[in-house]
Amino acid sequence: MAKKPQLAIDTRPWRDPDAKPFVRIKNVTKRFGDVYAVSDVSLDIYKSELFCLLGGSGSGKSTLLRMLAGFEQPTSGSIEIDGQDMTEVAPYNRPVNMMFQSYALFPHMNVEQNIAYGLKRDHLPPAEINNRVAELLSLVKLQDYGKRRPHQLSGGQRQRVALARALAKRPKLLLLDEPLGALDKKLREETQFELVKIQETLGVTFIVVTHDQEEAMSLATRIGVMNSGEIAMIGEPTDIYEFPNSKFVAGFIGSVNMVEGIVIEDEPDHVRIRSGELGCDIFVGHGVDCAPDQILWWAIRPEKITLSRDKPENAEDANVTQGIVEEIGYLGDMSVYQVRLESGKHIRVTQTNTVRGNPDSITWDEQVYLSWDDNAGSVLTV
């Protein structure tokens, strides 16, 4: 698994309201005929970020990336890169390079020629081009493959050539369209790590488009979740996972249990939600922007729930319900329990297998209590 760059608080410019964004997307809309591929998206991306645009197919993430590269013109809105308006600038005049999902390596050129292509367009002296190509080849560990043609390389090698070619011109901003999409799982994990390392060493701003949430979580400094042409949420991976702002985001990232409930107590320091589906009250230990009798949703991650045979004590007489274990999925490091509540609702619970070969572990058809902390779940109004 790739390691996230360890950022100190002061290297998170998005937390500083005075910081100047490097890429500024302002109210960008893109329409194809009657279809809004991207609608009114505004997004600020800061220098040296590794920003992930995450979304399903048709969410508009690729269209947004193509507008940054200049292959598509926004129907309205503007795109600023490094303080300069780029909305109308042709792709060949932008300080931006892109790594294509299909890699788009030129089949009639060898690896060196592919990497040198952009440098030749800048009319650099041949000696410098050679140096730069050699440097890039060693960066992506392909020193011995310079004379090969793309079809003589494996998928992983092609991916690295594509990366080297995109980095060759030392762009201020690198766009990556599903950079790891075509690789198998093992290679993907290795490459993820390398990608982050290269990004950190060069300090280039990366914008990565992906549909793979795991990839986004492990790569990104921040994630922008997209849904049907709009940005559903922007935040650091932990924000997105632990504090989703909507049912869509909560459901899109990771697995989640979602129940409907009605607000019965709305105080500044806590909220009590009654949920028939859950068969108990939910006590939320912080204030929520809601009104009494409002219907809303409460979402909790499977690992935030504790299973027990004995009824745990709860001071508020809430956050405890019971059910029957229907399915157990043993995954080695943890087990996934499918628990059926009295209402018929299924709840997914994961428990870490801390005891080796535990003979006393909870098993099929057992009556169990489910409990969670006051702040374990998210209250969602949309």
């Binding site: 292959f71 060949y92 294509f100 788009a104 030129f106 367009r121 800048d122 079809h151």
Partner: protein, 320 residues
């Protein structure tokens, strides 16, 4: 552990072909051999044998009678004599007419090919890049002229280019003197390019339509302007199409007879006309055969060179 209860494999289903297959196998033939044999026999009977006959005739001399050439084999008092006359071939090299006819044919075919390429490439490119719903209509328009007789179409060109034809009448409206177009090399070029343009466009189209748009975007992304992208990406990748199209225009154009006969003048020297004259005006079959064999050699050499170039390009592209 017992292996007695294993069932016998189910009998192979009888297909109608099984009978045919067995019958063929009995005489030592397989379906594969037959499939290969069919075109081989066809080519032998209708191509190789006639070619050998022509080659045989080219080694005789003209005589009056029927057939109008001396026999290759004579039988005098039991002595079979094979007489090979090489003077037809020697004549090809010594008589300036033939050499200049060959050179002129190659020149006309070459220039026509280049012109057809220059016109055909943009058309093929435009069709390949056209929106889907337009593409088939545009292709249809390219192929449509084939539905009319070739002879008729070439003849119709005279209606455009003759002294009081469409073009000159139009120019006359502006008081421009009639241009002499018919019976010139110009008319021959127009005729060849017009007739063979679809053969240039179709292979180019099939090549260009496969071109991955992402490569062009990648090139632009790396800082190449559209013209540079065309020269460094599109053009090299469309080489197989260019070669195929050029072959399809160049080869028939060398031996073209109808177009120079209908549109060309007395000064338009092409080997097809020389051949025709030898056969029908001079009834010199041996000389005509020698001209034909030499033409074959002239045509085959460029084909082989182009084929080799195409193979090289395709090797490079294979397993892309």
């Amino acid at each position: 552990m017992s292996s007695f209860d294993t069932e016998a494999p189910p009998p192979r289903p009888r297909r109608p072909w099984t009978v045919v297959e067995r019958g063929l196998a009995a005489v030592g033939l397989s379906g594969k051999a037959l499939v290969i044999a069919a075109p081989a026999i066809w080519l032998t009977v209708f191509f190789l044998v006639p070619l050998l006959v022509v080659f045989g005739i080219s080694l005789t001399v003209k005589q009056f009678g029927r057939p109008p050439y001396t026999p290759l084999l004579t039988n005098e008092d039991g002595t079979v004599q094979l007489t090979l006359h090489l003077n037809n071939y020697i004549r090809l090299f010594t008589d300036g007419l033939y050499i200049s006819a060959y050179l002129s044919s190659i020149k006309i075919a070459f220039i026509s090919t280049v012109i057809a390429l220059c016109i055909g490439y943009p058309m093929a490119y435009a069709i390949a890049r056209a929106p889907d719903q337009w593409r088939n209509i545009l292709l249809m328009l390219v192929i449509l002229p084939f539905w009319t007789s070739f002879l008729l179409r070439v003849y119709a060109l005279t209606g455009f280019m003759r002294g009081n034809g469409v073009i000159n009448n139009f120019l006359g409206l502006f008081g421009i003197e009639p241009l002499v177009m018919m019976q010139t090399d110009f008319a021959v070029y127009v005729g060849i390019v017009y007739s063979y343009l679809p053969f240039m466009i179709l292979p180019l189209y099939t090549n260009l339509v496969k071109l991955d748009g992402a490569l062009l975007e990648a090139s632009a992304d790396l800082g190449a302007r559209p013209l540079r992208t065309f020269l460094t990406i599109t053009l090299p990748l469309s080489m197989p199409g260019i070669i195929a199209g050029s072959m399809l225009v160049f080869i028939p154009a060398i031996g073209e007879y109808v177009i120079p006969a209908l549109l060309g003048g007395p000064s338009t020297l092409m080997i097809g006309r020389v051949l025709w004259d030898e056969f029908f005006a001079n009834t010199n079959w041996p000389r005509a055969s020698a001209v034909a064999v030499a033409m074959l050699v002239v045509v085959v050499i460029p084909i082989m060179l182009l084929q080799k170039a195409q193979d090289a390009v395709q090797d490079r592209e294979r397993a892309k």
